[in-house]
Subunit: 135 residues, 6 copies
């Protein structure tokens, strides 16, 4: 069993805002992250898969194909978007990095081939904060 990780990037706007709460409570809980006019981040996304090495190629899975799958099913739907407004699979969810990591797992997992298991979605919101989700 080996693990292969691929890094991709996307840039997006978001805000943290619970519509069930008042403006005041949102400001109190989320601080500047609740700015109603949005802010944004350069997200770094590490996708780790695991499985057996194919003896003919030496690959667990072709890293270029993995990159294309991540771009098709995740990055192209998030890059240069507003996460609260433009992304159907995030509708109705709090746009935290935690929820975003879980949603990315759900988007990508069905599209991986049968011999490969998704192991980890690791998502950096800034260079100092990241979330990991293992399914």
């Amino acid at each position: 069993m080996v693990y292969l990780t691929r890094l991709e990037h996307f840039n997006a706007a978001h805000k943290l805002y619970n519509p069930a709460w008042s403006r005041e409570k949102n400001d109190e809980v989320f601080g500047v992250c609740a700015n109603e006019n949005w802010h944004g981040h350069n997200f770094d996304l590490y996708i780790t898969i695991k499985g057996e090495i194919d003896p003919d190629t030496g690959f667990l899975f072709d890293a270029k194909k993995l990159s294309r799958l991540i771009k098709e099913h995740v990055v192209n739907k998030l890059d240069h978007k507003n996460l609260n407004v433009d992304v159907p699979f995030l509708t109705g969810k709090m746009c935290s990095t935690e929820n975003l990591a879980v949603a990315i797992w759900q988007q990508l997992q069905p599209h991986l081939p049968a011999n490969v298991q998704l192991h980890c979605v690791k998502l950096y919101e800034t260079q100092r904060i990241y979330v990991e989700y293992f399914g």
Copy 2:
């Protein structure tokens, strides 16, 4: 003459959009950067000053004081903001990284002490794109 550089960060939303143009022309020129619902970045800001070393302290200028000046006059006005909407000193300007670097110079320069010269504003929009302005 020595040069001292301090790195600060801010996260912000923006879009590239020229209101004198049609939606179609904006999309053609700016592509995904013109998304009307905004996107965002983690900006890395390097401020470089130059001058003589003070023999009593060994400092050109106290890096902690430089950090406070950058935060007070620049970072606090940009962090977790929408650059097109929330920042008075950017009103009416295209929110490109080039214009942002020039505007940061204009904000910070008047607040540096007389024995220190601002040398460079270096602003990373992503890890692969940065702008430098030397006044």
Copy 3:
């Protein structure tokens, strides 16, 4: 279950020296790290916690609050200090990165809220050497 990691920094002096040994044996075992006049490092500290996502906030735990807890109970007691001399919770311990990581766990763990578990203390002594402790 998701994992959230926060990076903090501190700068400190230390030396590796076992007082039960002769100067010669310390030099032989620890080499330049035993320099009696100390040396120092910029330590990078990654704290990882785990738990369930709060549906109201989308957070495992507010990363800003995590930062404040790490600063209050760990970083403020280590930053710009001499680890062998200035830090009560390290008294009588060898000031290795291994022991420092374990001690940081012991300092931080009691102050985390009940719904959050400390998962990992990861401590970089240099860009090429780090220690992880999982409790």
Copy 4:
């Protein structure tokens, strides 16, 4: 139980080419990585060991000694080499990063002292692709 990681580097040439296949099939499967005149990488190698802390030193294992073991048994055999041609322990294997990580484990593991276990070989082929092997 603590974990200690040491980073080392090596630069090498390789190509991905299965001699049981035609030139056309190799090009189809491996793309530019099959260039018959080779290409190359700066590999970053993270070696993680685990075990108990020695109370006399505060060390799991001396990081300088770990560095020397990695250099002697791994880096010196790979650095500035052609992985397909110059490395006896890779003869007859596909020179993928997956196979290289497994081979590095096999080279290093017998030379670690009895109180230390090899935990992970993590090998970056580029800043965006890495493989982990846990034995």
Copy 5:
């Protein structure tokens, strides 16, 4: 006047070998870099241009277009290649990072638009060695 920099990557094999010299002299001068079976690197290429900001776009030059020009005229000719064998514009030159930086300048400079000046080619051979050329 502002400066805009774009980072691109390529991976390539090379060796340092002066055909006018004996094998022994090449080994003496270039050491392991003269390995006749090649070695390789992940090169990081920073291209800096300078000029005036276009008031309609806020751009010195569209960073995406700059990326495409660098890829078309430089990266696509070097990536996954053997620098000594596969690159017509390097034929007959010593494949040092210095010569490569100068050759990249000569390849790219004629293709920049008239209102933009090439300012610097900065080329990392490893994370610890880079060359800059200003024309």
Copy 6:
């Protein structure tokens, strides 16, 4: 004319303290940096030289020889040292990063060969603060 840069590292203890001042004034001016028991840093040192390319080697100067000169004349005298106590060429100077960069220039410059000019000493005290000196 090309520029070649080499990165080296050293770890050291220091404090900022002017012996002509009272304890109180030192604390007021230097804050935690004046801790009498020292603190320390991982310093990153970038040395840039400039000159013409040698047509026989393609080199401005052999980067391995440059590394050896930096280690012999600078790094070996600073690494795992106390900058205030252990370093003859810093005696009587304030141990600021500014003064350290100037002193490194003075140590290294006389040992470079005639066809090479020292261009810049760039010294990182932390990842957020660096000093440059151009002679």
